[in-house]
């Protein structure tokens, strides 16, 4: 039962260059049983004081430290034992410690996802699972994507497809690999001329697609009450231009990031079963056209079955 609780976690899909709340829910190794409902709130505070202008890591005292707070409510439901659906809506607030540019706040993108268990079998001293997920996300408000690095998100519709292979040994160790692709549409900006290796006479910017990959190692301790996980994550655009000298970033940029992170999660026992808390940290170890973000995140989840009540 507690394994199923694993399910609800941060589920923000790297939809901005600044978002580091990882896509754990969609990329974790567990399904939720039929009739299970889960509600959760996750929060993350990410900051950076250096960013990559193209591939060059620089400081800009007119930004100082950029901070990005994300609060993300989400819900999920097990349709069958092998299919579940999720919805999430992050609220984001940005600000800079230097310069005079105003930060912004508001709801970012509504994400709707489906996750399927394609394969599960006991193999050796553990169990192998294969999962696939698909997500559709769209801007929930008329936020301006062309206001980097403050903008709430990329302002584009996104479709994401992922596949995961997850193996858990009975003794508690697990390994997981994930590969995915993010297709992004255009984002509407508030001007009709911009430069992207040449002139563009359009109110639309083509937001680059991206590949998403993750390697995870984790372990359950204390009779499955405590879960430790380490992640290495890649999010790389498949094309795009570089930030030009001393210019702000724009949604057409090739934004890449490599993240290293870890999280610890506690599942409440006994009377409080169904409740869990999680906390973690993530750091950008390499990047292009993004901030070198370090982020602390935490959250609380509650899972219950509506069919059994």
């Amino acid at each position: 039962m507690k394994h199923t609780l694993l399910f609800i976690l941060a589920f923000l899909l790297f939809r901005g260059p600044h978002d580091t709340l990882h896509a754990q829910t969609q990329t974790d190794g567990i399904m939720m049983p039929k009739g299970d409902f889960c509600v959760a709130v996750m929060a993350e505070n990410g900051t950076w004081d250096q960013y990559w202008e193209g591939t060059r890591l620089i400081k800009n005292d007119n930004i100082g430290t950029l901070s990005r707070l994300t609060v993300m409510p989400m819900i999920a439901y097990g349709i069958t034992n092998r299919i579940m659906v999720l919805a999430q809506l992050p609220w984001v607030k940005t600000k800079a410690s230097g310069g005079q540019m105003a930060g912004v706040q508001g709801f970012q993108d509504l994400g709707l996802a489906i996750k399927g268990n394609l394969f599960s079998r006991d193999i050796g001293k553990g169990t192998l699972h294969i999962f696939a997920t698909g997500e559709y996300a769209l801007p929930a408000t008329n936020y301006l994507s062309d206001y980097m690095p403050f903008s709430l998100g990329l302002g584009a519709h996104q479709i994401t497809a992922r596949a995961m292979v997850h193996y858990r040994w009975d003794m508690g160790l697990y390994l997981r690999g994930m590969g995915g692709h993010i297709w992004r549409t255009y984002t509407r900006i508030e001007r009709d001329y911009y430069y992207k290796d040449g002139s563009y006479y359009s109110e639309w910017m083509d937001v680059p697609n991206a590949v998403h990959a993750q390697a995870v190692a984790g372990y359950y301790f204390l009779n499955d009450l405590l879960q430790l996980e380490l992640q290495y994550t890649l999010l790389h655009a498949t094309d795009g231009d570089d930030i030009r000298t001393w210019n702000p970033a724009q949604p057409t940029n090739r934004m890449n990031m490599d993240l290293v992170g870890g999280s610890l999660r506690f599942y409440a026992p006994g009377q409080l079963a169904g409740l869990s808390v999680i906390a973690g940290y993530q750091h950008t170890v390499a990047g292009r056209n993004v901030g070198q973000t370090s982020a602390l995140f935490g959250g609380i989840t509650y899972q219950f079955n509506i069919l059994n009540r």
Binding site: I79, I159, Y193, Y201, T245
Partner: protein, 512 residues
Amino acid sequence: MKKLHILWIFLAMTAVWAGCRKELLTEASYSDYIYASIDENGGTWTTTLINAPADIPIPAPEATGSASYQAELATLRSQTTGLTQAQKNQVAYWTNNPLLRWNEIANELAAKYNLIPPPNPDGTYTLPNPANPGAFPNFPFAHPPYTCRMLAYLSTAQFDGLITAWHYKFQYGRPAPYKTDPAITPAYKDNPLPSYPSDGAVIATVSEAILGAMFPLEKEYLAGLAADHIASLTWAGVAVASDIEAGKTIGQAIGQAALARAAGDGMSKAQTPKPVSDSIKNAAKDKYGWQWDNQESPVRPVGLTPLFGNVRTWNLPSVELTRPPVPPAPGTPEFEEAAKELKDYQKNLTEEQRKIANWWSDGLGTYTPPGHWNRFAKDVIIKYQLNPLRSARVMAYMNQAIQDAGISCWDAKYHYHYPRPIQAIPGFKTILGTPNFPAYTSGHSTFSAAAADVLSYLFPEETATFKAWAEEAAISRVYGGIHYRFDAEAGLTQGRQVAAYTLEKARQDGAD
């Protein structure tokens, strides 16, 4: 298990959706058209850079019946047949109003070079060096003063070049090659313009000369464009070799005249050393009791082109004529009212106001407000199907007025040296970056009012639109938090006053 199909459907939709691509324009979408007028007397219009077309002697062409001309026609016949797709694309790209393409190329280069020098690791700044343009930061930094001047020289030279071409076209009256040789089919709409000298060759040559001087690192790129353009004239069947050679002669001569003026117009002294900049600042402080200071980190020691106000104007006799009245001193009720308006916008900016601020922002990395108005002019020229000479006239007068407006505005900016809102209002935040020069008057407002007045004279049916755009451009800076309302309003007035001098010239140039 059946419900797993949902997942597959979802993934299939993904593939379909990825196939929906938008076409994003990278250039104006227009093709050749029938000119609204031919302007047979265009050769009599007033020139700016030369006294008169006769300054550039062009010999009479060989008669159409001559053996040499017949040989040229034969060559052209072969050049116009069996074109490759790439050659056809060139013909379609340049059209029969290639002046607009060169204007667009100029705008693109402005956007490419509108990059502000970043600070060095030790907190100092290095400025672009025209003597070594390839050193970092590259020359030029195509900021609004630089860009407005570049566009003014480009379009003034194009205009003088085409007046000269028109002069000889109608003096010599050599018909277009396809009029003499029915075996040649022009790629463009037929028109009765004599073809000697080739107007296309004038435009290509003079544009290459001006832009090559303004963007020295692009000389090779521009030479390639000019060569393509000139070759396209033969592929299109609209000019023989001697038409093109005569056009090149005019283009080169006008290019030299324009660059000679540019060399002595004072622009090279506009970006001052710090002691000069400080003395300008102190003069304002002594006279008015306030001063503008750059608010960036690290602080830029000198504002942008403090002496651009001294640069030679085109039609404005003196910047004193259009210098606006003294702005309200910080701390006065009039100032506080303007500051309160800004704070209110900061708190309660509507999405519409935000869009207006961004729409007109035209900041770093863009073609600047002068470029924005050139883009409008290009669109309206296409709408009214002007011939290249008329098009050049629009661009020349508009860009002369825009540069004069910029010079007048910069005179006011550094005469009054008025602080920006982020300096004068504690804790104030903006949604646009504050530029590195004083507030009063607003450059956007001044440029835009001047451009709108010239365009309104030339396209009277569009007056209401141009006026509304100029006013929107002006208020956009207030919404963006980087100008007070009085900066914008004074700038609009100043721009209109400046434009009046250009209009005075336009009314008397013989075209209307």
